[in-house]
């Protein structure tokens, strides 16, 4: 069972998963927190010269002693990189690391450019431990509207940042892979460029993405989609945050090969989405047969509208 799922079931708390990656002095302070506070916790923020902040749902934060020092942060990074910063240079250049349980640790500080175009962290000024939570079930509410027969139709999930697109995509992938909600089990390839969907650590998904899912972690979307198509034989391919023309080309390759594509895209409305040339092209080619617009209110993952390929509103929900 993936670590995030164990945490969700209460068999292992998020703090137990994060603790090995926190400097001992700070860990001892966090040990004293009431366990109930961890149920609501979303982030642990460490900044040099400041106290620890435990951020809960809705952004409410709690300030804890002691004051974090630069040395504490260096020690945290040593634990995060397994005493081997050189082994994580590529990941560090992206500004974050993913730890077991799918928790992501963002890094702030000063960076240097060694000359090969990449960036290396030199001094750590702050760390943000973002606590991953495996949310299972949100796909149940829209499974019927995005499917025809025994599996999901090619679907694009649209919404502003933080509205739950990735969470919903992950759950659709899990359901399609495991054969839930009246679907049969599908062979799924998940191209997870930024490690946000499966939250893999050392190649192993931190979230439950289904028994028939292959994850290409850290792989650029355009390369990963074509690689999956050639090598993994997917019936369904999922990826996050479609953007430019290259992404659209790769999606078209998959669609022409008969693979069902599930994807997300940033946009505040479906109209805004259709104004983007690359997406408009995909819609014109009939690649996506369902568009799902999500909103962040009253809670992330609220489905506002589902439309079909002709733009017909199948159902307006959540309002």
């Amino acid at each position: 069972m993936p670590a995030a799922a164990r945490a969700e079931q209460g068999t292992e708390t998020p703090w137990a998963q994060i603790r090995p990656y926190v400097a001992e002095r700070l860990a001892l302070a966090l040990d004293r927190l009431e366990p109930s506070l961890w149920q609501d916790a979303r982030e642990v923020r460490l900044r040099a010269g400041r106290e620890i902040r435990l951020v809960g749902a809705g952004g409410r934060d709690r300030v804890l002693g002691p004051t974090v020092t630069a040395q504490d942060l260096e020690h945290c990074l040593e634990h995060l990189t397994g005493h081997s910063r050189y082994a994580w240079e590529e990941q560090l250049a992206q500004g974050f690391l993913t730890i077991p349980g799918g928790h992501r640790v963002g890094i702030a500080g000063s960076w240097s450019a060694p000359g090969n175009g990449s960036r290396a962290v030199r001094h750590v000024g702050g760390l943000n431990y973002r606590i991953a939570r495996a949310v299972t079930g949100p796909a149940a509410s829209i499974a019927r509207r995005i499917s025809l027969g025994e599996g999901p139709l090619p679907t694009i999930l649209v919404g502003p940042p933080g509205c739950g697109k990735t969470t919903l995509l992950r759950d659709i992938v899990r359901a399609a892979s495991d054969g839930l909600y009246g679907w049969r089990g599908h062979q799924v390839s998940l191209v997870d460029e930024r490690s946000e969907i499966a939250a893999s650590h050392l190649g192993i998904p931190g979230h439950d993405v289904g028994a028939r899912t292959d994850v290409l972690d850290g792989m650029p979307k355009t390369v990963g989609m074509r690689m999956a198509l050639r090598a993994l034989g997917p019936e369904l391919l999922a990826t996050d945050e479609l953007g430019g023309e290259d992404d659209a080309e790769a999606v078209l390759d998959c669609a022409y090969a008969g693979v069902t594509v599930l994807a997300t895209a940033h946009a505040a409305s479906l109209e805004e989405l259709h104004h983007r040339p690359s997406i408009a092209r995909l819609m014109g080619e009939g690649v996506f047969r369902r568009e799902v617009l999500l909103g962040g209110q009253p809670r992330p993952g609220t489905v506002l509208r589902v439309t079909d390929e002709s733009g017909r509103v199948l159902e307006a929900l959540g309002r």
Binding site: R19, H79, G82, S84, Y86, P114
Partner: protein, 172 residues
């Protein structure tokens, strides 16, 4: 009675030679120990610089090729690093643990202690430099140890034997 005295004198002379040999042997083992350290540093430098193998795995892998105390060091440190420890602390603790059985002098150990302070916090290029500098410094110590082993070994054996003969003559 005279025969007994002669036999006792021979035993004393031999014992003196043996004591001298023991001191000389420690010099020889010091050279071998430095050689083992150099081999370990060479393997670690390759694993870190070229394959970016995490240090715990590199130490574990290197321990299978290393010899004697250096093998104990690399295996022991790899085990320590599995816990919630800092590399510099674990490195120093492991060196301290082996020190009573080691033939290295404080000057031999100094570059190793310094290396433990540097590892893990920088990029591959910096690590290549750290290993190279440590190997160079240890190489200097090795040449000194080899000289002492040749000259000192002969000296200690001779001194032991002469002291033994002198004591035997006094007893006679």
């Amino acid at each position: 009675m005279i025969a007994l005295r002669i036999a006792l004198s021979l035993v004393i002379a031999l014992a003196g030679y043996q004591i001298g040999s023991l001191v000389a042997d420690r010099q020889r083992r010091r050279v071998l120990e430095i050689d083992a350290w150099q081999a370990l540093l060479h393997v670690l430098a390759s694993d870190v610089s070229y394959t970016a193998l995490p240090l715990g795995q590199a130490l574990d892998s290197a321990s299978r090729q290393a010899k004697g105390l250096v093998q104990e060091f690399s295996a022991g440190l790899a085990r320590r690093l599995e816990g919630h420890v800092l590399l510099s602390d674990a490195w120093q603790a492991e060196l301290e643990r082996l020190r009573p059985r080691s033939c290295l002098t404080p000057d031999d150990v100094a570059p190793l202690l310094e290396l433990g302070e540097q590892l893990g916090r920088f990029g591959r290029d910096e690590h290549r430099g750290f290993f190279l500098r440590c190997q160079e410094r240890i190489g200097i110590q090795r040449r000194a140890a080899a000289d002492e082993s040749v000259r000192g070994g002969r000296m200690w054996r001779t001194l032991g034997a002469v002291a033994g003969v002198a004591l035997a003559l006094v007893l006679l």
